[in-house]
Amino acid sequence: MSASKKSYVVETLRKAQMIELLSKGKRIDGRQLDETRKLDVRTGVIEKANGSAIVTLGNTQVIAGVKVQPGTPFPDTPDKGVLMVGAEVLPLAAAYVEAGPPDEGAIELARVVDRGVRESEMIDLASLCIKEGKHVYAVFVDVNVLNVDGNLFDATSYAVVSALLTAKMPKYVLEGDAVKNSGEVLPVPVAKIPVSVTIARVGNTLIADPTSEEEAVMDSRITLTTDDESNICAGQKGEPGTFPPEQILQAAEVAIRRGKEIRQAIKAATGHG
């Protein structure tokens, strides 16, 4: 996901053109600087998953699937369920992607989205304990990127959250020392809806929800995740550029404001309010 896929000549010329446009407050696709692309969320698309969602953000498309299984807790949190978010950019998603184990970009993507879900306390992990130190529910959310057109962070975040919001899990009960499926079905216990908003810095201008074309010329990006009460619960600056401190505060303002709109859209699409 770095800038290495494009010719330097084209990149430099394109960047000059885009910076000129941005200095007039315009973007190459006609959006406002802080405007995000059209978001479409479809849930329940994979019957065999406990929860799933396809998110389309502009031309970026990702699919998330939730699998809930009985598992063992981590030694330092014996009374809490396990949550794991994984991400993979599939080779069919863009010409530059090659098959193989997740590279540093995919690892960062999964970890930043994981942080947003975890730190917002979206999932009540304490209620996912079956027997302390022995048996807990393990919630795996895996995201596959189907088409890359920038801002994988937010598309992945919305897909993970939407899949979790609509996920149903079997109720496991203790039988002696083992757990068994009781046949009952429960919703995955969700309390909050974290929403990430990614802002790129191109030249000295901040733009929300960058496309691939914009990412190719950006200096740096910052992803900020907010919860329902406008708390900032996860953040990540990325790419080898910088931010002046005051632009970070501007980015936080945009992340809170746009985050509210996107949370409403996700709520509507998942039947949560």
């Binding site: 330097y8 730190e119 708390n231 619960c233 990540q236 600056k237």
Partner: protein, 250 residues
């Protein structure tokens, strides 16, 4: 429910006796490793971290070289004995992510266009970890880059802030990081006033986020004074080859 440790006592002091805006004791040495082109060692509280730079050197694999600048590579790694439970020496997902963000935190300070078709490799080896190892590692790695004579625009200096007992405090140690309710690693270039690394987990209100950002800059500026002093001692008063120790006096 386990009894939660109180992280700030009635006198406003933290577990290790620090005030809310106080850094842990810091010790910095430059030029610590013989073979490296540049090196530095930092102790930041109980963190003990060695940083080294090799390069500019030939780029491998050849097809990945850049015609107009050097490729910057970075490895952040923790020794198996650096933490309470033995850590598997193979790079974890956490270490891969941190290697990436450290590289991206240091890259804006370097004039890589001065070294086309080459590679510059940074190593950050955490020998003992005590919370805030990535930012201490950045402070040391920036010194190692300067020690290697890589052309740069500014130093990069790191410092974390966090939230414990509902209060924004400077420089979390391991216990505070585990029990606290928020951590924000931060690095910036103090003379250019530009942020090069920012990560955050926990819960910060917009106002706390603003405070945290302000406190992080203040803390980083204080670490920068020590970073700068270490470099001056190495190159202007100690003489080449000798290491210097700078400690924060309270």
């Amino acid at each position: 429910m386990k009894e939660k440790k109180k992280l700030i006592d009635e006198n406003g002091l933290r577990l290790d006796g620090r005030k809310w805006d106080q850094l842990r004791p810091i010790k910095i040495e430059v030029g610590t490793l013989h073979n490296a082109d540049g090196s530095a060692y930092i102790e930041f509280g109980k963190n003990k971290i060695a940083a080294a730079v090799y390069g500019p050197k030939e780029m491998h694999p050849k097809h990945a070289l850049l015609p107009d600048r050097a490729v910057l590579k970075c490895r952040y790694h923790m020794a198996p004995f650096s933490v309470d439970e033995r850590k598997n020496p193979a790079p974890s997902r956490r270490e891969i992510e941190i290697s990436k963000v450290i590289r991206e935190a240091l890259q804006p300070s370097l004039i890589l266009e001065d070294y086309p078709r080459t590679a510059i490799q940074i190593y950050v080896e955490v020998l003992q970890s005590d919370g805030g190892s990535r930012v201490a590692g950045i402070t040391a790695a920036s010194l190692a880059l300067a020690d290697a004579g890589i052309n740069m625009r500014d130093m990069v200096v790191g410092c974390a802030v966090g939230k414990i007992e509902g209060k924004i405090v400077l420089d979390l140690d391991d216990a505070e990081d585990k029990e606290g309710s928020g951590d924000m690693p931060f690095a910036f270039m103090p003379n250019l006033n530009l942020v090069t690394l920012l990560q955050l987990d926990g819960l910060f209100t917009p106002d706390e986020f603003r405070q945290a950002l302000e406190l992080a800059q203040q803390g980083a500026r204080r670490v920068y004074e020590m970073q700068r002093e270490a470099l001056i001692k190495q190159y202007f008063s100690g003489g080449a080859g000798e290491t210097t120790v700078v400690e924060e006096g309270e």
